[in-house]
């Protein structure tokens, strides 16, 4: 079931209908919990379009500190060693400052840890210089070896809804998916995906190629 940037009217009508009959239900999450927050789903096309920077890199440092101007707000300042830039012009090292609102994020730097291999899909900085991944945890992909020499990427909502509607959107946007990507998009409902294919799709939907 496709879910748009928020659950669409059509989706909600279907949902209500299903609830009314109280039969076996087919439901799509209209919202994800994210460390004390709730967000609506973002798919790969929406994330690509919205992102100012899409970067794969290794966390060099992550520290919690107050914002220099909004001095009561907690932030985590993350520095990455850039490995590959999919969108934007990040090179070398890249540092961003993210607002954190959950008390646990103060204790563990919002889960950013030195040495982490990440693919970050980042919003443009706000006027206060604050930058969050698109859809918050949805735009933060942890990368891990797959045990076969490759690497897998998983975002903070388990890649759920990441490829919803992407096949149709690819047609509308004139994005050519490879056979492997088309198969992935058709079958995937959640779980890790090969990082190279994921980055290629972000690149394609970002207009890179």
């Amino acid at each position: 079931m496709h879910a748009g940037p928020v659950s669409s009217d059509a989706h909600r009508q279907r949902l209500r209908g299903a609830l009314a009959v109280a039969a076996t239900l087919l439901l799509a999450a209209p919202a994800f919990a994210q460390r004390g927050a709730m967000t609506v789903p973002r798919d790969l096309q929406q994330m690509s379009e919205r992102a100012a920077d899409i970067i794969r890199g290794t966390v060099v440092s992550a520290r919690v500190e107050k914002h220099p101007e909004l001095t009561n707000l907690d932030t985590v300042v993350v520095t990455l060693r850039v490995r590959e830039t999919v969108k934007g012009d990040a090179r070398g090292t890249f540092t961003f400052r993210q607002y954190i609102w959950d008390i646990r994020d103060r204790w563990d730097a919002a889960g950013y840890r030195k040495g982490q291999d990440l693919l970050l899909v980042l919003n443009a900085p706000t006027r206060y210089g604050l930058t969050s991944p698109v859809g918050i945890e949805q735009g933060r992909f942890r990368i891990r070896p797959d045990g076969k020499g490759g690497y897998l990427a998983l975002n903070g909502t388990g890649n759920t809804h990441l490829f919803d509607g992407i096949a149709v959107m690819a047609g509308q946007k004139g994005v050519a998916l490879s056979r492997k990507q088309a198969a992935l998009v058709a079958k995937h409902h959640g779980g890790p995906v090969e990082v190279g294919e994921l980055m290629a799709m972000f690149r394609a939907f970002s207009g890179g190629e």
Binding site: M1, P5, V6, S7, S8, D9, L15, L19, T24, L25, L26, L27, A28, A29, P30, A31, F32, A33, Q34, R35, G36, A37, M38, T39, V40, R42, R50, H67, L70, T71, N72, L73, W101, I103, R104, G111, R113, K114, G115, T126, R127, Y128, L130, T131, S132, V134, G135, I136, E137, Q138, R142, L154, N155, G156, T157, G158, N159, T160, H189, G190
Partner: protein
Amino acid sequence: MMRATRGAAFATLTGALAAGIASAGGPLALRSNGQAYIWSTATAIQYRTDDGRLSPTVSESAARARVQAMFAVWQNVGSASIRYNRAGFIDNAPGFTDGDVSTAAEFDAIEGDCGNGNQSPIVYDATGAIFDAVIGDDAVIGFAGPCAVNPNSGLIIAGHAVMNGLYQDGQAAPIQDLTAAEFDATFIHEFGHFSGLDHSQVNVECANGFCGADALAGLPTMFPFLVSDQQGTLSIDDVAWISKLYPQGGGGGFAATHGTISGRVFFSDGETQMQYANVVARRIDAGGGEPRRFAASVVSGFRFRACRPNPITNPPPGDCPPAGSEDPSLIGFYEMPVPAGSYTIEVESIDPQFNAGSSVGPSDFPIAIPGTVPTPIGPITIAAGATSSGNDIAVLGTPPRFDQFEGP
């Protein structure tokens, strides 16, 4: 239907709930002794609401009534003693004087006051301007949680919530509205965090698209995904855990309605404790559909701080939770409040979708249970006020392993 509901309907069901239903997924934040951070119940939690509109189409008074109703969902649990009181509009603080938090600077001022433990504000961001300034993403519906805790007393001192009015402005752009029921269900979940509750995995099939009516009825408000506005109604799991953290005394109170089931999860050697298994108690003595409607859960080792990788459960390097006890006897320990009744106990992996911010239990990263999950144990009959301990479960066919402090 034996679930709690909001508002007037809830009041009529409280008796039924108190008479025998049960439980949720555990505490949001732990102290270094493994105990949960909770609010004091000596007085009601004093929260303050924004003096501005929630959105162009939702007035301040309407928003205030909705917030009160959302808190009432938790307050009306008969077996729990947590109480909330609206103390008035958001109070003045250095840099803030007009009661209506509408700019990033005003939000900053209020966050400072919350962090200092002076007040617990519920902020309405009527135009999304605050979210735009500090997050830069309109995908965020809102957030809530404690903003000040006392590590010595273990008490939550202040909490905050911010609601994005863009989701209730009657406009399809820049972001489409949620229904009022979906929006309210979202913040009933958030107010669970505000109250000290973590996420809960019960009836996980609902996260994967298929959710029978019984499973939906048992789906926790504190489930990591909002899949239905029905989650604005508390499940057995939610009721049990809010009651465990804030037990009400007397007839109809926690001890008069709930018992506790505890045990440990082991690797197949029967000696080595296993952390990160989701443990679910399903009621079996109340007729059709009960096991999915009436279920409670907790994660094994939920009070343990696992900073040392082990060769099988293998948390990523540096994946050390910020708090919890390092008492090794708690590694595989589980403890669940449940309404009096008969239950089976089963273990399952935490769903891989629930990681990082949507995580369940003490690890940010779900770890698949190695080996074979055993058949459920039970029945375990638990009386009100009683504890059934030693309900241990050994996973089958796990590879040989080393002690958690030895490493491979």
